[in-house]
């Protein structure tokens, strides 16, 4: 009954890790949201003087071109979240579709799909990003597509295993014997049963995608200026790390805060998404 499902949200169990994760990730999200409405300086404003130390009027100082670091950091938060969300959306949808297909496939088709996934997983993300960039241009969109596609292979392989495990269970056969069609079996039983594990993995993948975007930007395969990315900030500040450490510390710390926060959320989601793991009722 629908009433039974709805009750879940009302008694979501409290999970310390989930709360801690939401606080950390929420911090970055808040910074990103503020960046849409207010920035200390224009992103391409170079009037601040080069490599100014933290203080006033530039709270975190400036970079080697004289741009305000706080401004770049705030835009970077936006870019990091967009990268994570975009990649998880692409990777999740493509991976889920592929994984479901492979999960239902039997014999030679299953073998073929599995081999294909193994090859895709072995394919380096950086190489994929270079190919996508060559086909389109160096942009955040290209980076998201590359990261999302690389992620989809991992998600698909996990989904395949999870689907096979669920399909082997008696309750699927029981549901089929009472005349439930395949599409309904997928919606009613397969997806809910793979979701607890899959959602945890997607949350982890979000963190990895944020790191991957930073790496690609570091290599010049991400968003071009003035769309500051934490990865490119790190790369630009690297040469002057001893004169102006804030340029490295600030994006580094936020990167860690976001990824740790997302991983804690992943842990917390595990406890909330699976009723058989809940202690309290």
């Amino acid at each position: 009954m629908s009433a039974g499902r709805r009750r879940v949200s009302r008694r979501v169990p409290r999970s310390a890790t989930l709360i801690a994760g939401c606080v950390l990730a929420g911090l970055v999200l808040a910074v990103a949201v503020v960046s849409f409405f207010w920035l200390p300086y224009a992103p391409d404003d170079t009037t601040g003087g080069r490599l100014m130390p933290p203080g006033l009027p530039h709270l975190l100082g400036t970079d080697k071109l004289g741009r305000d670091l706080l401004t770049q950091l705030m835009i970077g938060a936006r870019v990091a979240l967009e990268a994570g969300a975009g990649a998880v959306l692409i990777g999740g949808l493509v991976g889920l579709a592929g994984g479901l297909a492979a999960g239902f496939a039997t014999r030679w088709l299953d073998d073929t799909l599995s081999a294909l996934l193994d090859i895709l997983i072995a394919f380096p993300t950086v190489l994929l990003a270079m190919l996508v960039t060559a086909a389109r241009e160096a942009s955040l969109g290209s980076a998201i597509i590359a990261i999302g596609l690389a992620m989809s292979a991992i998600v698909a392989r996990l989904t395949r295993v999870l689907v096979k495990r669920v399909l082997a269970q008696d309750f699927i056969t029981a549901s089929r014997t009472s005349g439930t069609s395949w599409p309904r079996v997928v919606v009613e039983h397969v997806l809910p049963n793979i979701w607890p594990t899959l959602s945890v993995n997607l949350a982890l993948q979000f963190g990895l995608a944020v790191l991957a975007e930073a790496s690609l930007s570091y290599l010049g395969l991400g968003a071009p200026p003035p769309n500051a990315s934490w990865g490119r900030m790190l790369q630009e500040a690297q040469a002057s790390v001893f004169i102006a450490p804030a340029g490295v510390i600030a994006p580094g710390v936020l990167l860690v805060v976001l990824v740790v926060g997302v991983n804690l959320i992943a842990d917390g989601v595990r406890d909330v998404a699976d009723p058989t793991r809940r202690r309290t009722r």
């Binding site: 009954m1 009433a3 039974g4 499902r5 009750r7 039997t106 014999r107 269970q169 008696d170 309750f171 056969t173 029981a174 549901s175 089929r176 014997t177 009472s178 005349g179 439930t180 069609s181 395949w182 009613e188 039983h189 809910p192 049963n193 607890p196 699976d274 009723p275 058989t276 009722r281």
Partner: protein, 270 residues
């Protein structure tokens, strides 16, 4: 009236092993047939093949013809998936051996029982809620409201099996297939569930295909029995005939061990 006619049913695995060979029987409306045999003899496979649910890769041949009232004649072996989906539930439904795995662990019990009621009888909202309650009460579950809100891991094995029976009956099938429904339960609960099943099938005039490896259990609930060994039906007849005058050595062994167990029990209780 004949509900189910199975002729020369054959199931061959992907590797070419014969799991069920040349099994034939008929089942009339309201009749009760027991299918007995040791573990791995092909009992479950026979049941799955009857519903057109043999695992992918298996080859099923022979005839499995349903002639359920209002559903027309269907040959399960040759029918398409759409036809089979509409046949399942109305013509047959199943209670499985292991009640924990036969219920979706992530779905509240009430919702699982509601599903066939919604689909088969088109019930919604309050009427559906009442029907779920009634279905749970019918299988003698005390406190049906609590059970309906619980997840399968939050209720006992016996309660789970009653829920599974409620789900199977909610479809109101012409034939109920019970695949070792009491094997996973302890002896007292076993007797209760058996009595319950007996009564409910009787009340509704359903036909019953009862699968077990336990001759004593089958002889309590079935009228006729088929003995399966390595996928071959080695003996069939009324329960009385098979128990009193077993012809095949394997059946004699089964009857013998059932009697020895009975004897031991009588000796202990006297």
């Amino acid at each position: 009236m004949t509900l189910l006619t199975v002729t020369g049913l054959h199931v061959r695995s992907a590797e070419g092993r014969d799991l069920v060979s040349d099994v034939s029987f008929t089942l009339g409306a309201g009749e009760r047939l027991g299918l007995i045999g040791e573990s791995g003899s092909g009992k479950s496979m026979t049941a799955l093949a009857i519903m057109g649910l043999a695992p992918p890769g298996m080859t099923v041949s022979g005839g499995v013809v349903f002639d359920a009232p209002g559903l027309g004649r269907t040959d399960v072996v040759t029918a398409g998936e759409r036809r089979l989906t509409s046949l399942r539930g109305r013509a047959t439904s199943t209670v499985f051996q292991e009640p924990l795995t036969a219920l979706d662990p992530l779905m509240r019990v009430g919702r699982q029982v509601a599903e066939p009621l919604r689909r088969r009888r088109g019930l919604r909202g309050r009427a559906l809620h009442a029907a779920v309650r009634a279905a749970l009460e019918e299988v003698r579950l005390a406190d049906p409201d609590r059970i309906a809100r619980a997840y399968p891991h939050e209720i006992s094995g016996g309660q789970r099996q009653r829920v599974a029976i409620a789900m199977a009956l909610a479809c109101d099938p012409a034939l109920l297939i019970a695949d070792e429904p009491t094997t996973a339960l302890d002896v007292t609960v076993q007797a209760e569930v058996l009595t319950l099943l007996d009564g409910l099938v009787e009340e509704r005039g359903m036909a019953l295909l009862f699968i077990s490896h336990d001759l004593a259990v089958v002889s309590r609930i079935a009228e006729r029995v088929i003995v399966l060994k390595n996928g071959v039906a080695v003996e069939s007849g009324s329960v009385g005939e098979v128990v009193n005058a077993p012809r095949h050595p394997y059946t004699r062994e089964l009857v013998g061990s059932a009697r020895r167990l009975d004897g031991a029990l009588e000796w202990r209780t006297s």
